[in-house]
C-alpha cells in the first residue's frame, strides 16, 4: 500500500506531474520565443529565458493594490496552476498513462475552463478597469473557442466509440493503436484542423492574445500583478502551451506504439513540440493580433463549421 502511495506521489509531483510539466512548459516557451525570433531573422533569447523570467519575477516584490480583493487576487493564479497540473495527470502519453478514468475527456475540457476563469477572476479582483476589459475579452475568446473544441472532441469520441461512444482518452489511444491515427481517418481531418486552430486560442499566444494585448490594454487582467502571482500566471500560460498540443497528440496522433515506455514518452514530447510549433510559433511569427469580434466570428463560423462537418461525416458512419 505504501509503495503504491509513493508511486502515486511520484507520479503527482515528479514525472508527469508538477515538476516535469513545469520544466517542459517553461522550456517550450523558451524554444517558442527563440524560434519566433529566428523566423524574424534575429538571434532571440536563450532557451532558458523562461526560467530567468520566472525566477526574476519570484525575486521581485509582489504588490497587492488597495482596490483589489486580496484573497481572490492571490488565490486565482494558484487555482489556475493547480488545475493545469492535475490535467496533465489525465493525459495518456501513448502507452504510459497515470490516471485514466473512464471519462477523462470531459474532465479535461472542463478543467480547461478553470485557468480561464482563474485569469478572469484574478483580473476582475484587481479592480483595474484595464483588467475589466481584458477579462471581458478573455471571456469572449473563451465562448469563441469552446464551441469548436466540443464539436471536434465529440466527433472523435463518436468515431472511436463505434456503436457505443467513449469519453476515455485511453480507449481513444488504444483504438488509434489498432487502426491508425485518428488524423488519417479522412472523416476526422476537419475535426483535427478545428482542434489545431483552437489550440492557440486557448493558450492565448500572439495572434489570439486578445485578452493580454500589452499594446492595447496593457496586459489585460495581469496589469496589477507583480512578483510571485505574475510568475504563476506566466507559468499557467507555459503549462497550457504543453497541455493543449499534448491533448491534440493524444486525440489525433495516438497510434504510435513503440516498445518501451521511455521511448514513447520522448516521442510524445517531440510530437507535442512539433504541434506547438505549427500551431503557436508560426502564427506568432507571421500574423498580427485579431480584433475581438473578428476572433469570435472566426471561431464561430469557420472553425465551428469544420468541427460540425466532421461530426456530420462521422455521424453517417464514415
Amino acid at each position: 500500500m505504501v509503495q503504491n502511495m509513493l508511486m502515486n506521489l511520484l507520479h503527482i509531483f515528479i514525472f508527469p506531474g508538477l515538476l516535469f510539466v513545469t520544466v517542459i512548459g517553461v522550456l517550450m516557451t523558451g524554444i517558442d520565443r527563440k524560434l519566433v525570433a529566428r523566423m524574424q531573422k534575429r538571434v532571440g533569447p536563450p532557451i532558458v529565458q523562461g526560467f530567468y523570467d520566472f525566477f526574476k519575477l519570484m525575486g521581485k516584490e509582489s504588490i497587492v493594490p488597495e482596490a483589489a480583493n486580496k484573497p481572490a487576487f492571490l488565490a486565482a493564479p494558484i487555482i489556475g496552476y493547480v488545475s493545469l497540473v492535475v490535467m496533465v495527470l489525465f493525459i495518456p502519453m501513448f502507452s504510459f498513462s497515470v490516471y485514466s478514468g473512464t471519462a477523462d475527456m470531459i474532465v479535461l475540457i472542463y478543467l480547461l475552463t478553470i485557468p480561464g476563469v482563474a485569469l478572469i477572476v484574478g483580473g476582475t479582483a484587481s479592480g483595474n478597469p484595464y483588467a475589466g476589459v481584458g477579462a471581458s475579452r478573455e471571456m469572449v475568446a473563451m465562448i469563441g473557442y469552446e464551441l469548436p473544441l466540443i464539436l471536434s472532441v465529440l466527433a472523435v469520441c463518436r468515431k472511436v466509440g463505434g456503436s457505443a461512444m467513449t469519453f476515455s482518452l485511453n480507449e481513444i489511444v488504444n483504438w488509434q493503436a489498432a487502426n491508425g491515427c485518428a488524423l488519417f481517418q479522412w472523416a476526422l481531418i476537419p475535426a483535427a484542423l478545428a482542434f489545431l486552430l483552437v489550440i492557440p486560442g486557448e493558450v492565448g499566444t500572439q495572434p489570439f492574445d486578445v485578452a493580454e494585448a500589452e499594446t492595447e490594454i496593457l496586459e489585460g487582467p495581469l496589469i496589477e500583478y507583480s512578483g510571485a502571482p505574475l510568475a504563476m500566471f506566466k507559468l499557467n500560460t507555459a503549462l497550457k502551451m504543453f497541455i493543449m498540443p499534448a491533448m491534440f497528440v493524444a486525440l489525433f496522433l495516438g497510434g504510435v506504439h513503440t516498445g518501451n515506455v521511455v521511448l514513447d514518452v520522448v516521442l510524445f514530447i517531440l510530437l507535442t513540440g512539433l504541434v506547438s510549433f505549427i500551431t503557436m510559433t508560426v502564427p506568432h511569427a507571421i500574423a498580427a493580433r485579431f480584433k475581438v469580434e473578428r476572433l469570435f466570428k472566426f471561431y464561430w463560423t469557420l472553425v465551428a463549421a469544420l468541427g460540425l462537418v466532421s461530426l456530420v461525416l462521422v455521424w453517417f458512419g464514415l
Binding site: E61, V82, A103, T113, V121, I143
Partner: protein, 644 residues
C-alpha cells in the same frame, strides 16, 4: 407505521399555519414570523423523517382521504400517494421554504403588512407540498391553482411598485390560461377513464396502450396537460411572466418562486409523461420535449446576457436551467432522468443562493442595476464568497454541484444520440455545452459588475448582510459544495430511488390500488435502456489530486523568499502611492468596468440575433398570450399527428 400520516400532516400543517397567521399575524410581526418558522421547520422535519422509509426502503405511502378506500378496484376518494419521486421534490420544497422563512425575517423589515406576506407564503408552501404528494389528478390541479394564486399575490406584494402589479397581471393571465388547459386535460382524462386517481388512470391507459394505440381523447388530454404543465414550468414560449416577476417580487419569495414553483411544473411533466400516460418510450414525444428544452436553454441564457437588472438576469438563468432539466427529462433514458432530477436539486440549491445574494445586495445597497453597482466584495465578503460558490456551480466548474448534473446531462444526451442514431441529440449536447459556457460568461459579468471592480461613491457605507440572512446563505453554499463533491452519496439516497420510482409505474399502481392491479391492466415498467444510471464522473479521485498538488504549490510558495509588500490598511481607495490602481498615471477616479459594456465582441457579432429576441420580448401582455396559444396549438397538433 406512524409515518403514514406524515405527508398529510405536513400539508395540512402549512394551511393551518396560514390561517393562524391570518388571525394572529396582524397584531405583531413577531407572531407571524414565529408561526411561519415553526410550520416550515416541522414540515421539513416530517419530510426528512420520510426519507428513510420511502427512499431507502422503497416503500410507497398511500393515504386515502377520509378513509375512502377503493371499492372493488375503483378509486372513489382522494388518494395521497408519496413515492420516492414525490419525496425527492418534497424534501427540496420544504428545505427551500425553511431557508426562505429564515431569510425573510430580516429581509422584509422595511415592508409593512408582513402577516399578509406570511399567509400567502404558507399557502404557497402548503400547495407545493400538496402538489408533490397528491395521487389525485384534480387535487393536483387544485394545488396548482392555489400555488398560482399565492405566487401572483406574492409577486404583487410590494404594490407600491407599478412593475410589480404589471408582472403579477401577466403571470395571472398566462398562469390561468395554463391552469385552464390542465383542467381541460383532466376533464378529458376523466371523460375517458371515469376516475381521477392517477394510479387507476395509469392502469387504464396502460391497458389501452397494450391493446393498440391511445384513443384520441387521451392524446388530446396529454397535449393539453403537457401545455398546462409547460406553462407552469415556464418552458420556451411561456417563459416571459417569470422574467417579469422576479425583478419586482420580494427576494425571499422569488427565491422560492424560481426554485420550487417552476419545479412544480417539471414535477407535473414527469408525473404525466412517465407515469400517468407512459408515453416516454415514444421517440416523437422525446423529440418534442427535448426540442422545447433545448430552445428554452439557449433563449434563456442569451436573453440573460443582454440584461442590466441583477434579478431579471437570474430569472432568465432559471429559465435556461429549466431548459436543461426539460431536455434531460425528455430523453427518456435512465441517465437522462437522473441527470434531470439531480439538476433539479442542484438548480434549487444554487439558484436559491443566487437570489439570496441578490437580495442581500438589494437590501444593503438598495439597487439591483448592474451598471451602478461595483466593488462590493470589500464591503460584503460573505455575500461575495457565497455568490462565487453559486456562480461557479451554476456555470458548471468541476468541484461544484452544477458540474456533476450538467455533466450527466451531456453524457445522457450524447448516449441517447449514439444509441438512437438521431443527429438531433448530438446537436443538443453541443448546444448544452455552449449554453453552459454562456452561463459562465453571464455570471462572470455579474461578478465583475457587482462584486469586483471599484466601489462607487454611493455605496461607500454598504455593510455586510445581517446574520439572519447569512445563515441560510452559508447553509445553501455548503450544500452546493457538498452535493458537488459527494454526489454519489446524494445520488444513492435521493435521486436513484426517485428515478426508479418514475420508471416503474406498475409498482406505483400496485401500491395505490392493491397488488396485482397493475398486472391485470398489463401496465409494464418503462423499458428504460440500461438502468446503469451511474455517470462515470467520480470527483473523489480528481479532488484528492487537487488537494495534493495544492499542498505542493504552497510549499514552493513559502520557500520563495520575496517579501510581500505590506498592504495599507486604509479603507478608501488610495489615490497615490504604490498601492493605487494603475490608471496609466492618472489619479484614482471611479471608472468601473461592468454591466452592459462587457462582452462587446460577442454582442457585436450576435447583434441581429440579440435585436430580434429583445424586440420579441416586447412586454405587452397580448403578445405573450399569443405566444402561449400558438405554442399550445403547435403542441396539440404535434401530439395528434405523432403520438400514436
Amino acid at each position: 407505521m406512524s409515518y403514514i400520516h406524515f405527508p398529510v400532516i405536513a400539508v395540512m400543517g402549512q394551511f393551518l399555519a396560514a390561517f393562524l397567521v391570518a388571525i394572529f399575524g396582524s397584531k405583531s410581526r413577531k407572531a407571524s414570523q414565529a408561526i411561519t418558522l415553526i410550520a416550515s421547520a416541522c414540515a421539513f422535519v416530517l419530510v426528512c423523517l420520510l426519507i428513510k422509509p420511502v427512499a431507502l426502503d422503497g416503500q410507497i405511502i398511500s393515504y386515502w382521504m377520509g378513509n375512502w378506500e377503493p371499492v372493488s378496484g375503483y378509486a372513489i376518494g382522494i388518494g395521497y400517494e408519496m413515492d420516492a419521486l414525490g419525496l425527492f421534490f418534497a424534501v427540496l420544497v420544504s428545505f427551500i421554504i425553511l431557508m426562505s422563512a429564515i431569510y425573510s425575517l430580516r429581509y422584509l423589515e422595511h415592508d409593512e403588512a408582513v402577516d399578509r406576506y406570511y399567509t400567502l407564503f404558507l399557502m404557497l408552501s402548503g400547495s407545493l407540498l400538496g402538489l408533490v404528494m397528491t395521487g389525485d389528478l384534480f387535487n393536483m390541479f387544485i394545488m396548482i391553482e392555489i400555488m398560482t394564486f399565492s405566487a401572483v399575490g406574492l409577486t404583487a406584494f410590494r404594490n407600491y411598485i407599478p412593475e410589480a402589479l404589471e408582472a403579477a397581471m401577466k403571470y395571472l393571465v398566462i398562469g390561468s390560461v395554463g391552469s385552464s388547459m390542465t383542467l381541460a386535460g383532466v376533464a378529458l382524462l376523466y371523460a375517458q377513464t371515469h376516475t381521477l386517481n392517477m394510479a387507476q388512470v395509469a392502469a387504464k391507459i396502460g391497458a389501452m396502450q397494450a391493446s393498440g394505440g391511445l384513443t384520441p381523447t387521451v392524446v388530446f388530454a396529454f397535449g393539453l396537460m403537457f401545455v398546462g404543465f409547460g406553462i407552469k414550468s415556464f418552458m420556451f414560449p411561456f417563459h416571459t411572466p417569470v422574467a417579469d416577476a422576479h425583478p419586482v417580487a420580494p427576494t425571499s419569495f422569488s427565491m422560492v418562486f424560481s426554485t420550487m414553483v417552476i419545479k412544480a411544473g417539471v414535477y407535473g411533466l414527469i408525473r404525466i409523461a412517465y407515469i400517468v400516460f407512459q408515453v416516454m418510450d415514444k421517440s416523437s414525444v422525446q423529440i418534442l420535449i427535448t426540442a422545447f428544452g433545448c430552445v428554452t436553454m439557449f433563449l434563456g441564457v442569451t436573453m440573460a446576457l443582454a440584461q442590466h437588472d441583477f434579478k431579471r438576469l437570474l430569472a432568465f438563468h432559471s429559465i435556461s436551467q429549466i431548459g436543461y432539466i426539460i431536455t434531460a427529462l425528455g430523453l427518456g433514458t435512465a441517465l437522462g432522468l437522473t441527470g434531470s432530477l439531480f439538476h433539479v436539486m442542484n438548480h434549487t440549491l444554487f439558484k436559491a443562493l443566487l437570489f439570496m445574494c441578490a437580495g442581500a445586495v438589494l437590501h444593503m445597497t438598495g439597487s439591483k442595476n448592474l451598471d451602478e453597482l461595483g466593488g462590493l466584495s470589500k464591503k460584503m465578503p460573505h455575500t461575495t464568497i457565497c455568490f462565487l460558490i453559486a456562480a461557479f456551480s451554476i456555470a458548471g466548474i468541476p468541484p461544484f454541484n452544477g458540474f456533476a448534473s450538467k455533466w450527466m446531462i451531456y453524457q445522457a444526451t450524447y448516449e441517447k444520440a449514439v444509441e438512437s442514431g438521431n443527429f438531433f441529440y448530438a446537436l443538443v449536447t453541443v448546444v448544452a455545452v455552449v449554453v453552459s459556457v454562456l452561463t459562465l460568461a453571464s455570471f462572470i459579468k455579474v461578478t465583475m459588475s457587482v462584486f469586483f471592480g471599484q466601489l462607487p461613491e454611493k455605496y461607500k457605507d454598504a455593510k455586510e448582510a445581517p446574520a439572519s440572512m447569512l445563515i441560510p446563505m452559508w447553509i445553501t453554499a455548503i450544500l452546493c459544495l457538498g452535493t458537488g463533491v459527494l454526489y454519489q452519496l446524494v445520488d444513492r439516497t435521493l435521486t436513484a430511488p426517485a428515478v426508479a420510482a418514475s420508471l416503474t409505474p406498475a409498482n406505483y399502481v400496485d401500491k395505490m390500488m392493491g397488488s396485482g392491479y397493475a398486472a391485470s391492466f398489463s401496465v409494464k415498467d418503462a423499458v428504460a435502456t440500461a438502468v446503469q444510471h451511474m455517470s462515470y464522473w467520480n470527483p473523489v479521485l480528481w479532488l484528492t489530486l487537487l488537494v495534493i498538488v495544492m499542498l505542493g504549490v504552497f510549499i514552493v510558495i513559502l520557500s520563495g523568499d520575496n517579501e510581500r509588500g505590506p498592504v495599507l490598511k486604509t479603507k478608501e481607495p488610495v489615490a497615490d502611492g504604490k498601492y493605487a490602481t494603475f490608471f496609466s498615471g492618472e489619479k484614482y477616479r471611479h471608472s468601473h468596468m461592468g454591466g452592459s459594456d462587457l462582452f462587446w465582441g460577442f454582442k457585436h457579432d450576435m447583434k441581429p440575433y440579440f435585436d430580434f429576441i429583445e424586440e420579441k420580448h416586447s412586454g405587452v401582455l397580448t403578445d405573450y398570450t399569443l405566444w402561449t396559444i400558438v405554442a399550445m396549438a403547435v403542441i396539440v397538433v404535434y401530439t395528434f399527428v405523432f403520438v400514436k
